[in-house]
Symmetry: none
Subunit: 192 residues, 4 copies
Amino acid sequence: MPKVGMQPIRRQQLIDATLAAVNELGFAEASISQIAQRAGVSTGIISHYFQGKNGLIEATMRYLLQQLGKSVAEIKSQVNDAPEQRLLAIVRGNFTAPQTDKAAMKVWLAFWASSLHQPDLHRLQQINHYRLHSNLKYEFMKKLSKDQAEKAAQGLAALIDGFWLRGALVSGEIDPELPIELCSEYIRQQLK
Amino acid sequence: MPKVGMQPIRRQQLIDATLAAVNELGFAEASISQIAQRAGVSTGIISHYFQGKNGLIEATMRYLLQQLGKSVAEIKSQVNDAPEQRLLAIVRGNFTAPQTDKAAMKVWLAFWASSLHQPDLHRLQQINHYRLHSNLKYEFMKKLSKDQAEKAAQGLAALIDGFWLRGALVSGEIDPELPIELCSEYIRQQLK
Amino acid sequence: MPKVGMQPIRRQQLIDATLAAVNELGFAEASISQIAQRAGVSTGIISHYFQGKNGLIEATMRYLLQQLGKSVAEIKSQVNDAPEQRLLAIVRGNFTAPQTDKAAMKVWLAFWASSLHQPDLHRLQQINHYRLHSNLKYEFMKKLSKDQAEKAAQGLAALIDGFWLRGALVSGEIDPELPIELCSEYIRQQLK
Amino acid sequence: MPKVGMQPIRRQQLIDATLAAVNELGFAEASISQIAQRAGVSTGIISHYFQGKNGLIEATMRYLLQQLGKSVAEIKSQVNDAPEQRLLAIVRGNFTAPQTDKAAMKVWLAFWASSLHQPDLHRLQQINHYRLHSNLKYEFMKKLSKDQAEKAAQGLAALIDGFWLRGALVSGEIDPELPIELCSEYIRQQLK
DNA sequence: AATGAATGAGTCTTCATTCAT
DNA sequence: AATGAATGAAGACTCATTCAT
C-alpha cells in the first residue's frame, strides 16, 4: 500500500464516504466514526486531511457543487446558442444523474438545512443559489427585457428547486422526465 | 402556582420555545436544555409532557402543519368557488405570515431535512406534501382533464415549494409579492 | 440520597478528588474521568457543577489559596502585635499542615507550572504571590525603612518559597522545623 | 543533503525546538508535532533520534542541567579559593543568563513539576537539587561546623531557588541584581 | 536519513433521559 | 406539577507511535 501521495486518493475516499453516510444515516447521525468506517480508515485520518469534521463537510459540499456545475456545463456544451436550448440544457443538467440520485438529493437537503446555521456552508450554498439564477437570467435576457428576464429566471429557478425539493422529500425514486417537461413548457411560455 | 390544568399551557410554551430555539440555533443545536431555558422551565418537564425530545419535536411539527392548514383555510373561506380564485387562495395561504417568517421557514427546512431519517416526522411531512398537491389538483380538475390537472398541480406545487425553499435559503427577509404574482401567472397559463 | 442542595457538597467532593488525583497522578494525568472516579461520581457531573474541567481546576486552586490564607490568619490571630512575632506567624502559617503535606506541595507546584500558560490560573497565582510579599513588607516596615523593608520582604518571601519548592521536589516528607528555624533567624537578622 | 553525521546536529536542533515549544506553549501543549514543526523536521524523526517523546524531554532536561553546570563552573573558575568568593560565584552562576531567561525559568519550572511523576526526570532533578546543596555545604564547611554549614547551605539553597521560583512566576523580566545582593548579604551573615 | 501516512487509545464535552424529592 | 441532580454513552478531536517508502 503506497505511503506517499495518498492525499487526493484519501480525500476523495472520505468525501464519498461522507456522502454515503449522510445518505444512509442523515446529516445528524453522520459521525466521523461512521464516515471513517465507510471509508475503511481510522477516525484520526479525517483531521489529518481535513482539519476536523467541518473541513470534511465543507469539502464534500464543494464537491457536490462542482459535480452540479460539471453536469450543467457538459449538457450546455452539446447545444447551440438558442436561449431556449440553453435554458433547457441548464434544466437537464440539474435533473441528470448523479443530481437526481435519491442519495444526492438527501445530501443536498441536509446541507441546505445545516447551511442556515453554519457560515462556511452558507457561503457555498449562496454561490450555488445565485449561479442558477444568473445563468437563467442571462439566457432569458437574450429575448426578454431585463425586468421580464428577472421574473422568468426567478420563476424557473423556483420551479427547478421546487421539483428538486419535492423529489428529495418523496419516498420513491425520481423520474426526471416530468420536471423536465414542465420546466420546458414554462420556458416556452416565458419566451413566447 | 397552579397545579392543575397546566398541560395545554405548558405544551404550547414548550412548542414555542422549540421553534425559537431551532430558529436561533438550528436544529442540531436545539438541545432540550436550550429549549427548556427558553421556556423558563426545567429539562425534566419535557419528558413529563412529551415523553422525550422526539415527542416534542413531532408535536412542534404538527403545530406548524396546523398553522399552515389554518392559513390556507382562512384565505380560501374568503373567496368564491372559482378555481382560479381558490388556487390563488392556496398560494396566498402558503405565502402569508407566519409562514413567510424567516424563522418559520428555517424551522420548516430543518424539519424537512430531518424528516428524511425520522419515520415519525416523515409521515407528517408526507401528509403536508400530498395535501398541497391534492388540493391543487382538485381545483385544477374543475377545468382541466385529469392528466392536465395532475401536471398543473405538480408544477404549481413545485413552484410554491421552490419559492419557499429559495426564500428560506436567501439571507434577507422575504417579499411574498413576487412569488404570489408568478404563481398567479402560472395558474392563469394553466387554466387558459 | 438527597437530590436537592447537593451543590456545595458535590463541589467540595470534586475539589478534594481533584487534589487527590493531581497528587497521585500529576497534573497531566489528572483527567476528569480519574477525578470523577475518585469522587465516586460520573464525569458528566463535573460540567454540571463547574462548566468543564477548567472551572474545576480553577476552583481547586482557589480553594488552596483560601486554605493558605486561613492557615496564616489563624496563626497571626494568636500572636501579639510585635512585628517579629507576626512575621514568624506568617512563616508558620506557610509551613503548617495542610500546607506542608506532600500532596498539597505537589499540587501547588503543578498549579504554578500550569499557571504560566493559563491566564485564569495565573491571575490567582499572582494574588498569592503579592499577598505574601505585601504581608511581609507591611510588618517589616514597622521597624525598617521602606527600602530596607522591601528587601527584607523579598528575601524572606524567597526563603519561604524556596523551602517550599525544595520540599516539594525532595523525596520524603517535610520537616517544617528547619525552614521555620532558618526563617526565624533570617527575620531576627533583618530586624536587628 | 547530508546523510551521515547528522545525529548531533539533529539532536541539538530538536532540543532547541523543545525548549522553544515548552516556553511558548507550556509543557502540556508541547506536542511532538509542535516541536517537529519548530525544528523544521517531520514527527517521525523524533522517535528515530530519541526513541520517543520521553527520550527527547529527558535529553532536553539533561541539556539544561549541563548548561547550568557550565555557568557555575565558569564563574567559579574566575575567583580565588575564599569560601565567600566561591559561594558568591555559585549564586552568580545560578543567576546568569541563560539561566535567568524567562524562557529557561519557565522550562525549568515545567520540568520540575513534571518530574514529580516521571521517574527519569525525577532522577535528573534530584541530581541538580543535591549538587547545589553539596556545593554550598562544601564551601560553608571551610569556615563553619558541619552542623552550621548544613543549615547555611539549606538556607542559601532555598534562597536561590526561591528567587528563581518567584522570578519564574512573576510577569516581567528578571533583574538578577537584587537576588544576588540579598544572597551575598546572607552569605556574609552566615560566615560572620 | 527522513518523511508523512495511518492508527487507535484517550481527552473533554454534550446530551437525552431518569428519578428522588 | 415541577425541579435539578445524576448518569453514561457518544461526539469530535488530539496525540505519540509505528512503518512503508
